[in-house]
Symmetry: C2
Subunit: 181 residues, 2 copies
Amino acid sequence: MSAIRGGSRARTRQAILDAAIEVLARNPAAPLGDVAAAADVGRTTLHRYFAERGDLLAALREEAGRRLGEARDRARLGDDSGASALRRLCQEFFDLGDVLSLLFREQVAVDGEGCDENFEAMVRRGYEDGSVDPELPPIWLQSLMWSQLYAGWHYVTECQVSRHEALRLILRCVDGAVTPR
Amino acid sequence: MSAIRGGSRARTRQAILDAAIEVLARNPAAPLGDVAAAADVGRTTLHRYFAERGDLLAALREEAGRRLGEARDRARLGDDSGASALRRLCQEFFDLGDVLSLLFREQVAVDGEGCDENFEAMVRRGYEDGSVDPELPPIWLQSLMWSQLYAGWHYVTECQVSRHEALRLILRCVDGAVTPR
DNA sequence: CCAGAGTGGAACATCGATGTTCCACTCTGG
DNA sequence: CCAGAGTGGAACATCGATGTTCCACTCTGG
């Protein structure tokens, strides 16, 4: 029954996606064989789920976007002061782990034009409630946040630092950067 | 005379290196043909100067390291307060332009163990003169600086922002992050 | 002008990643 | 047990990047 075996298919697919996030976060040009190996799956099987590299990448973007959206929802950008909401957003995004590295390049680049509208609204609220320095434009704050998150994640994976400690430093620095003089 | 034509050789070599910095900063996996084209040079000629891709990358690292060292020297890390010196360093590094992107990944990663000793001395001076928050370890400040620089450089190349404006935001945010509460 | 350095293009061999095909194997629901 | 889904390995064709060779061309110092 495909309905029953479907569970197995979904599990394999997810294992491949998870492995792809892990492997491609470290090396975006990694061969598919490495992804398959990390997923404990034959290369043949990987191709059965994602015919071409582009198919895998597309699914990956979708998965990353999904997780990103969930994290943003959890941060409740509409509550509290602008700066508090930004803190929560950093916290939630930081927990995305490897997805961060994967998103980093695109995120910084993609948002060149219009930055996320929820994010922008949050920042504008911060201008008004006095928790965010009006000198700092929303797009810049978005770049700032992402680069801090990336630096923090690197700090965790490369140095011998706990996620908690890294998050503390990130929040300390984002706060400092954002607060009006 | 090789001494005379040597000038031509040096010029061609430099043109290739400059092109490589530009091309590989945007796409580290770019084919050598792209680099040759950007340098206005035949692929054959490129191989005449750098037999293998690795040779080009090695020369590139050397060139980048040289420029990085020069920038650090210009920043006179030993003068003024720790925070002022850090400002100058950001300023000098930011002017490296494309070299930034090239160095970024390595820099953040490479300095995992021991971070630059001059940098560390500068930060410790900042702890003592009260211009740098002692809660922030030197390695973290190094990551912070690099990620800010990278974000700023992206901001310039992707959005329609002047280098000057981006630098202002970088310094504003680094200052805010570093200053003790 | 001429010799020789420096160059670019064409052609080629090689290599690794990619994607496909086929077959034998395993595992599970019935 | 048995049918069929799901899988992995081996073998293969293809493709793009790499690196090499060779030859004709240009340019400059003498």
